[in-house]
């Protein structure tokens, strides 16, 4: 093959590659959908502090019974997302990690002691901590993923953790189960103390 022929072939290959690679695609569909949803679903379960606090919300809801058992899971995602919105818009929130650790301590202790405050106070306590969780976790969108599906996956995973806590809390109906639920609350509170120590150390 002559040098000229070789050059023509290389040139043709480059031209073909450029044709097959459009400059940009500005489609309005979300990009990185599968990656976004999976990243969002896996994000809440990647941090044990968040996982334990969310399960404790479900457990406490089960301990409190209706209507708290459904008010808390309905209210929490929206307030958590509000915290995420604050974080995304740049509103500062000091001591986020400490707030998350304290949420595990307080919620675990409330389950352990079977504290039954009025519904408004229970909702207020949960909403207060939801702000910290949302602020901390709502900002971490991986590159190249759909923001909407990431957000949806994040919210759904958090909701499923609540549901898991509520299901565990069903055992509260029986005497032995009641002790188990209290034990679980105590475990969450202890783990929260560990996270708190780590956050302030």
């Amino acid at each position: 093959m002559t040098l000229e022929a070789f050059g023509r072939r290389v040139g043709a290959a480059v031209a073909l590659a450029l044709v097959l690679s459009p400059v940009a695609a500005f489609g309005h569909q979300e990009v990185g959908q599968a990656a976004g949803l999976l990243a969002g679903l896996s994000h809440p379960v990647s941090g044990l502090d968040h996982v334990l606090a969310m399960i404790a919300v479900g457990l406490w809801g089960a301990v409190l019974g209706p209507p708290a058992i459904w008010v808390l899971p309905v209210a929490f995602p929206m307030v958590m997302a509000f915290g995420g919105l604050m974080g995304l818009l740049g509103f500062p929130l000091p001591g986020v990690e400490i707030g998350i650790a304290v949420s595990a301590v307080v919620l675990g202790a409330l389950v352990l002691a079977e504290v039954r405050p009025p519904l408004w106070l229970a909702a207020l306590i949960v909403a207060f901590f939801a702000i910290f969780h949302g602020h901390a976790h709502g900002r971490e969108l991986p590159q190249g993923t759909s923001a909407l599906l990431y957000s949806l996956g994040f919210v759904v995973a958090t909701g499923l953790l609540h549901a898991f806590g509520i299901l565990l809390g069903v055992a509260h109906r029986w005497a032995a189960g009641r002790r188990l639920v209290q034990l679980a609350g105590g475990g969450v509170a202890l783990a929260g103390l560990f996270f708190l120590w780590r956050a302030v150390a």
């Binding site: 489609g27 995602p77 929206m78 759909s146 923001a147």
Partner: protein
């Protein structure tokens, strides 16, 4: 054209190729089915239809029937307008606000009058349809693609709202409200992504 000019002209033409302004989901079955798939692949549209179906279902059969007529009709009209008078943007803040608001109303179990739900469905359907029309047209899907989208909206809306109207048990109604709160929460977070300051 002289042989020596073919290669540089080809490379130049390829390099300066106009950007592709839209990419539909290609099912291989034609524009109508591409339109059906489009709804499933566009989360903001999908969430709006789900939220409106839940909202209408919560308020009973009368509201659900009216919504089943109004939302797809508004979607179609909006789509036709969008195809005729397109804008460069996909109006993400508007579409996020609509599905987020619908999710919030579901979560609150808002006791809206049937007419209010119909008006909401009309406005939201027209907005999402407009964005669909404006983006489907440049992609070559045209009216057949829009018809596919609207058909998918009708089917999903009918199935879901009908199911919700039949729910009686307390916990199933709570599940509907939880679904609404998830949609509202995703909308809030999405709004944050859209409005966050550039760092």
């Amino acid at each position: 054209m002289a042989t020596r000019w073919r290669l540089p002209v080809s490379i130049g033409a390829a390099t300066l190729a106009a950007p592709a302004h839209a990419h539909l989901v290609e099912t291989g079955f034609g524009a109508f089915y591409d339109g059906i798939a489009h709804l499933g692949a566009t989360p903001a549209d999908l969430l709006l239809v789900i939220a409106v179906a839940l909202l209408a279902g919560q308020r009973g059969t009368q509201a659900a029937r009216w919504t089943l007529f109004v939302l797809p009709a508004a979607w179609l009209v909006g789509g036709l307008l969008g195809a005729r008078f397109p804008v460069g943007s996909t109006l993400p803040v508007l579409t996020t606000l609509t599905f987020g608001a619908a999710g919030l109303l579901v979560a609150l179990n808002a006791r809206l009058h049937g007419a209010a739900i119909v008006v909401f469905a009309m406005v939201a359907g027209a907005a999402h349809g407009y964005v669909n029309g404006a983006s489907l047209e440049p992609a070559g899907a045209s009216l057949l693609g829009l018809a596919g989208v609207v058909t998918a909206v009708v089917c999903l809306l009918a199935i879901l709202s009908a199911q919700v109207t039949t729910l009686r048990a307390g916990w199933t109604l709570v599940v509907v409200r939880v679904a609404g709160s998830w949609i509202a929460a995703a909308g809030l977070l999405m709004l944050g992504w859209l409005l966050r300051p550039v760092r």
